[in-house]
Amino acid sequence: MVTNILRANEHTQEFTTTGSVKSYDSNQLSSNNPIEDTRTEAQCLLTKGLLLGVFDGHGGASCAQVIAKRLFHYITACLLPPDILHKYLNALENNETMELLDVYNDKVELVDELKILYEASFKTFVKELSQIKDNQRDFQMKEAMEKAFLRLDYDLSKEALYKNDGKVNMKTLSVAMSGAVACVAHIDGPHLHIASIGDCQSVLGVLTDDNTWTAKKLTTEHNTDNQEEIERIFKEHPNNERDTVIKMERLLGQLAPLRAFGDFRYKWNKSTLSSTVLPHYGESVIPPNYYTPPYLTARPEVKHHRLTPRDKFLVIASDGLWDLVSPLQVVRLVGEHMSGKVTLSPFRLPRKDMRISDINNMLLQRKEGLKMKPIDRNAATHLMRNALGGTEYGIDHVKLSQLLSMPQELVRVFRDDITITVTYFDSEYLRHCPP
């Protein structure tokens, strides 16, 4: 039962083509109903690269769902060199199929109405992109990512405010009223870029010379623990708002993440809020001390990391995981799981003409590994099981089943939604890949 709950959303994708990514494991565990976390993984088709994203929604699931569906298209479009972009635009205009992405494990379908609307917005964006002259000449990954995030956020706003026959579209408005934080990784060969807003985190599992695991954090959370973020917000607003803009460790005393998609009640100006939103959501929709919007941004922080053969895996997860375990614990758990995974595969001799003594050594090694054999093949599930049920003496099954079977109204207090993606790197590829 426990195992069935844990494994319900498992997914594993292996890659056979040469590249830095060997495979990834992902999984989700809900606490909210419906779950407010979403995730997407996709292969770019026109340029090289793999995109992996974890999105953690709040105030409803709709924003996170829409972001998961749309963000990668915006990113991919920003990565296209001008000539390819033009070709793509031509294909769009002539209704030819030219796919930007191959999305894995995609189970969500948007309603047709939104689909058409979103396609139109995206087409406009592509058109505008293609009118920028020579944008490839000084291509910067940072700018490309920022442009994609901000433009999508802008489109969310535009779509919500668009009135058909003077009527507000409640669907797009609810997307704009909910919010989502995001962490997206783009991996092409040895280049890893992480773009993130809010409090999702990504951690690199690094195996050092002396065979110990270390964790390298690739994101800084945008919340009130982050002094730089607070300074940024202070700087963006007049001094007299200092006491109100961050209050009780929240933005305007309400919102925990300091950057997010959607959440336009912290972005639109007061009159827009009053005229468009207030009639449907009531007075409380305008936050207290709302003087100098916008207070919130979807501008991501972008980091570049060159993968080395010592970088073994990347964990991206929503704060539901990080509330329970530290980055180093996460890295150790996955590292341990990796060595367990090795010995789970059927035993095969790596080459002919082996000495009996060498085979014996391999078998002894396997025996050691089998002792630690994890219950789950999927590292994300392994992380969940250990995060929820881990004790000093191993998994505490009772604790785990309690946490998983709590009644809906209580569960949110003890655990948040958890979404995890573990991406494994091919060390041999990274050893020999061109610089």
Partner: protein, 856 residues
Amino acid sequence: MGNETVLPKQTQVVICGAGTVANSVAYHLVQNGWNDIVVLEQKKIGSGTSHFGSGTLGLFKPIADRNLIMYSIKLYRRLQELGYDIGFKQCGSVNLAQTKDRLIALKRQMAYHQATGLHCEVVGNKELKNFHPYLKTEDLEGAIWVPEDAVAKPQAICKALAKLAKEGGACYVENCQVLQVLTENSRVKGVETNMGTVFCEYFVNCAGMWARDLGLKCSPRVRVPAIPAEHFYVTTSCFEPKLDSMLPCVRDYDSHTYVREWEGGFMVGGFELEAKPAFGGSGIPEDWKNKLPQDWNHFMPLWEKAIHRLPILKDVHNPVLTNSPDNFTPDGRWILGETPEVTNYFVSVGMNGNSLQGAGGIGKAMAEWIIEGVPTTELIPFSIQRFLDLHNNRQYLLQRTREVVGRHYSIMYPHQCEYKYARKLRCSPLYSVLEKRGAVFGTRMAYERAVYFDSTYKGKFYGDPLPRMPPGSFYKPKFFDFMREEYLACREGVGIIDMSSFSKIEIKSSGSQVVDYLQRVCSNDVNIPVGGIVHTGMQNELGGYENDCMIVRQNDNSFFMVSPTNQQTRTFEWMQRNLPPDHSVALTDMTSMYTVINVVGPKSRDLMSELSNSDVNLLPFTYKKVNVGYASDVMVMSFTHTGEPGYCLYVPSEYALHVYDRLMTVGRDYGARDVGCLTQRFMRIEKFIAFWAEELTSLTTPFEAGAGHRVKLDKEYFIGKFALQRQKEQGVTQRLVFFVLEDIDPDIHIWPWGGEPLYRNGEFVGTVTSAGYGFTLDKLICVGYIRHPGMTMGGSNDRPVVTNEFIMARNARYEIDIAGQRFLAKPHIHAPHIPHVNMDSTSRRYRPTVVSLKTV
């Protein structure tokens, strides 16, 4: 003048020995007006090995040899015309190929001979019969006819030259034994003999197989690494009827035999695969002529092969076997020139079984060298300065001589014909480790260097069979795939190259004298900041190269110099000769103190900074002392010998294994791989980096080699400045050019390897100096000097100037002749652009790569 019984008290030149070579030197000295000469002979004129020998004069040799032999033939013809009965006949020769590879080898030689005016042609088996009716030809792949080859009587020429020398004023003293060559400040002063002492300015050691021992009778000792090997030939009695006296000589290389007509019968000689050092390997006995056994057992395999080739020999009765010892050298080439140990001490020995063919040309070259003070023709291949003490070691010579004799008739596959004996002499501290990692070694200056690494080698334990080089080839080497892997490591990861064999010399003084000294011998400005490195040539007065090296300034008055492996003796001698007389500057050979490791490739900086835990982001051409692993004071220099980004590590040898181990262990994550010197060679050719003894010789200048930017004419006097100044004003008469061979398919065609002639619009304009495979261009490439047609190598000033316009002229069509087939060669003044791989990973920006489009 003539034979004297009394030794003069004083003379200008003493020549020791009165064999053909000695007499030729004496003759040419007197011809040039130097007649104050004493020739000392321990017995009688020509009583040594000069009265032996086949008497054949073969021109089908490397170009430097051929030029001297060509002159010998001219000289002997003149002697004949003067009325000397020397039996000179230009009967020609046929050179046989039993295998396809042999025919390629011969055709490759033929290509450069034809270009440079030696008549020779391929003949079919039928024609061959016309030239030589006794030959069995059915099993031959082909043959080359060389009509200008000749024969003569060695003894008669020996005597004739002595007579002419005497007539010119040379004084011959027989029965005179040299006891000691006297020196003062390492300069010849006189000769002490059993007949008293004669003071002299010059001493010439032409003592044949006694030359090595004579070299030791001097302080300091002079190295003459050559010892006699038994050398056999058979003569038959006169045939009935007499054989045609104009029957050409036959060289049947694959049977290791040669045959000539000899007084109506045949003479059959051999260069056997496994030879025997003469006199059982001990010294030369007093009565050596009685210690020459007729070893029919030894010669029989060759005799049987000769019978196979000339079936008529089957019926010969009582053939006479002669054992005629002669001096062989460690590399089978003559030993000529002024010794590095003693000024004005000249040597010309090491005739490798045939003193007659070289004697004429060698005599002229040596006489001119003595008179002019510098060689007047290209003699680098024969230079006595190519040796080290180890070459003169008797054990070494005994081993090496066993195979040197036979190599004269072996196929010399390029870079793939390593010696079997006398190996593992000079080894890098990394030798054993590299061996275990699959290194296949070759030697340079007896130094074992990894040619390439067999990455599939699995041996682990001592005694496991070592990786072996596959059989040689003129086509793509059979181990080429390994080289490609090595190249990729240098281009995309890290290549680790052991370069320990490079010569290293420390130069210092207490005051600033060392700077003045180096400024005088170097053509570049070496007064650089401490911590800097400069690439410079050392020029002779004519502007030609005496050395091409890197100079590192360690502190104000101490420099460190690095030059190519085969330069160790030569450089040291050149630098020593030009030292200030007040002993203020000291030179120390440090070659063995450092292990040199090149760390090459785009990931080398990341690897080195991890290993050294310090900033190795060095400016180009600077160095820094850092710790690598636990090893301290490793000099890390920011240049490589391949032209790729990377470092050159000078590691105190006791740390070598540690540093190498760290490089390889930590380097695994950076794609580190061992790289051999052949890959490195190809890479530097592709970068158009000229190399010592190939592109850079004493007869080529920086302006000609495209290294004019390294000449600083605005600094004060340096050796060669005036010549270079003139050349800069007037232009060069030859220019090094880079060629891409677009039409050659590396998988199908014979490769160029060096020595191939280059044609411009059908006219011969130059010779390939280096060739190889350009990994980045994915084409075969070569470099060579281009001159105006009709201008041969070397010399005079009134030659037409070679301009870039001439080289790159639109109507100029270049071709290379590879073993008789011509291919288009595309010229470049500068190396074709190869995108540089940046070493700095952090500044490397990401750009999306486009996937090949799948449009519907």
